[in-house]
């Protein structure tokens, strides 16, 4: 999931021209879980902006329940058909969702003017309804097989691949003494799994060209293609 937090209302107000007609859009998946752009938050944002004198022509969180705003076909249908009358009047859209959902609204409105209402902060695991945390950095080259399933790129503040730096104290990281040292976690886990030998092997530097942006994935008949600066990688898909 993509974790998001709402931007301060004054920053959002600063984006809007006087008399600009605004339609507010939320997301019923990730932003709803983060309580930054679900139904209650989107309605509330529309009301708060109205109170500040902004001309709000409508708001919506595309349904069915739980669907991601970043599914373009659904978002386009909702904004152009279900809410077509309101969105036609809008000069712009304020999006309470991640950067992907934000861009989806731009596509769904044929290049409409879109304002970000959230900061996209990371991709994470929804550990509980109230806690989301990051275990993956989307680097394009997964090495967790060798690290007990715990990603050093994400869990180590320095993304070190060959073991801990000298900065951990009592198992806590030098950048924040309340935060676990990623390599301490990896060491403990490998030991527990009886796979500490994995730590002895030299790990090559990352291929950062797989981490280049923007990247894309095209899914075809029996084959998917990942494109990055490392080139095109075709893989079999068995859907």
């Amino acid at each position: 999931m993509h974790a998001t937090i709402q931007k301060p209302i004054d920053e959002i107000l600063g984006y809007l021209k006087p008399d600009e007609r605004v339609f507010v859009v939320g997301c019923d998946n990730c932003a709803a879980k983060c309580q930054s752009g679900g139904i209650p938050e989107t309605e509330e944002m529309a009301n708060r902006l109205k109170e500040k004198g902004v001309n709000i022509v409508g708001w919506c969180v595309p349904q069915p329940k739980g669907i991601s705003l970043c599914k373009l076909s659904n978002t386009a249908k909702v904004l152009q058909e279900e809410y077509g009358e309101e969105t036609k009047q809008a000069d712009s859209f304020l999006v309470l969702a991640c950067g992907q959902g934000f861009h989806t609204v731009m596509d769904a409105t044929d290049g409409g003017m879109v304002h970000p209402g959230c900061d996209t902060i990371f991709g994470g695991e929804t550990v509980t309804d109230n806690f989301i945390t990051e275990y993956c950095s989307l680097c394009g080259e997964c090495i967790v097989e060798y690290t007990g399933g715990l990603c050093p790129v994400t869990l180590c503040a320095k993304s070190l691949l060959n073991g801990p730096c000298g900065g951990a104290k009592d198992g806590k990281c030098e950048v924040d003494r309340t935060r676990d040292c990623g390599w301490q976690l990896i060491y403990d886990r490998l030991k527990e799994l009886g796979r500490l030998d994995e730590m002895n092997a030299y790990r090559e530097p990352k291929n950062n060209s797989r981490w280049s942006r923007p990247r894309s994935l095209t899914i075809g008949e029996g084959e998917a293609t990942f494109r990055s600066l490392s080139g095109e990688q075709k893989v079999a898909s068995h859907a």
Binding site: A157, K158, S159, L160, L161, N162, G163, P164, C165, G166, G167, A168, K169, D170, E174, V175, D176, W183, Q184, Y187, M199, N200, Y202, E204, P205, K206, N208
Partner: protein, 301 residues
């Protein structure tokens, strides 16, 4: 061949010192600090943006040492440079006469004075050692041939007081396989713990130089105990410092440092004294630790 390499490879005991480049362009003070060490140490570490605080670069200061006939150990961290910049800086360093390189991860920018800086860490310290070894063999990391190769003497760091120690030892082995030919350690205050560590790495056959930060006060010891990984100043030493009048602290610092050096000397192949500004104490520390040139490198002087 660098004096450091000659000394270590001949199995002699070595003493190294350390200077920190200034925040600015006036090198007088740090070159003076190095000058004080001239006849007492084999080589002088020059830190690379120590504690992630912006300063003049390690390469510039190392070069100035060479011009004065002093031998630097150029510290190079992975924090601020990607693999292109690291390899290029290494080649530049060699062209400027630098032979000893200490490869480190580097403190995270959040601990320094530019907390919003992007941490690079494109390579880690093991990968940096391997990259430098590859340059020594006449190739770059991408496998392309260099038209001429450097011949660096590569070093690395280890924290003997780390708990748990095992991950440090695993990484130390990897550093040796990647090309580390000497180790300098985090500051040692507990010779017993250090002895245990040396027992663990006995078969590695790579010289270990024990680091010692000159203690200036009890407050500094307490600060390091709570904030610096792998450092544990025993209560007894803190009390000793605490009971010393301010005007006698330098004398006490010499006494404590020399005592620790005498205790660790039989266990390892050198000491690395980090005076943190009290550089003028180095001659006295060396004399009190019975580390005259005759006692360590009779052929050299």
């Amino acid at each position: 061949m660098s004096k450091l390499r000659q000394t270590l490879e001949s199995g002699q005991f070595v003493v190294t010192g350390e200077i920190g480049p200034p925040k600015g362009v006036d090198l007088d003070k740090c070159l003076h600090d190095a000058e004080v060490m001239r006849d007492h140490v084999t080589a002088i570490n020059v830190t690379d943006l120590q504690s992630a605080v912006l300063r003049i670069g390690s390469m510039a200061v190392s070069t100035r040492l060479i011009e004065r006939g002093l031998e630097p150990i150029y510290q190079l961290t992975c924090r601020d440079r990607n693999r292109l910049a690291l390899q290029s800086d290494l080649l530049s360093a060699w062209a400027l006469g630098i032979e000893n390189v200490l490869c480190l991860t580097g403190d995270h920018p959040i601990l320094g004075d530019h907390t919003e800086a992007k941490p690079v860490y494109d390579l880690d310290s093991v990968q940096l050692l391997k990259a430098a070894s590859t340059l020594n063999q006449g190739r770059d990391m991408a496998g392309h041939e260099l038209d001429s190769a450097p011949g660096f003497f590569l070093g690395a760091v280890v924290t003997p007081g780390a708990e748990p120690l095992e991950p440090q030892i695993i990484k130390m082995k990897k550093k040796i396989e990647a090309g580390a030919r000497f180790f300098q350690t985090q500051s040692v205050y507990e010779p017993d713990k250090f002895e245990h560590f040396m027992g663990q790495v006995q078969g590695f056959n790579v010289p270990v130089i024990a680091g010692i930060v000159v203690l200036k006060s009890a407050a500094m010891a307490k600060f390091m105990n709570s904030n610096v990984a792998g450092i544990s100043v025993p209560e007894g030493i803190i009390r000793e410092m605490d009971e010393t009048k301010k005007e006698d602290r330098k004398k006490k610092a010499v006494e404590i440092t020399a005592r620790i050096i005498r205790q660790v000397k039989p266990l390892c192949q050198g000491v690395h004294i980090m005076p943190l500004g009290w550089d003028e104490l180095i001659p006295e520390i060396i004399s009190e630790a019975e580390l005259s040139w005759e006692a360590r490198t009779p052929q050299e002087k």
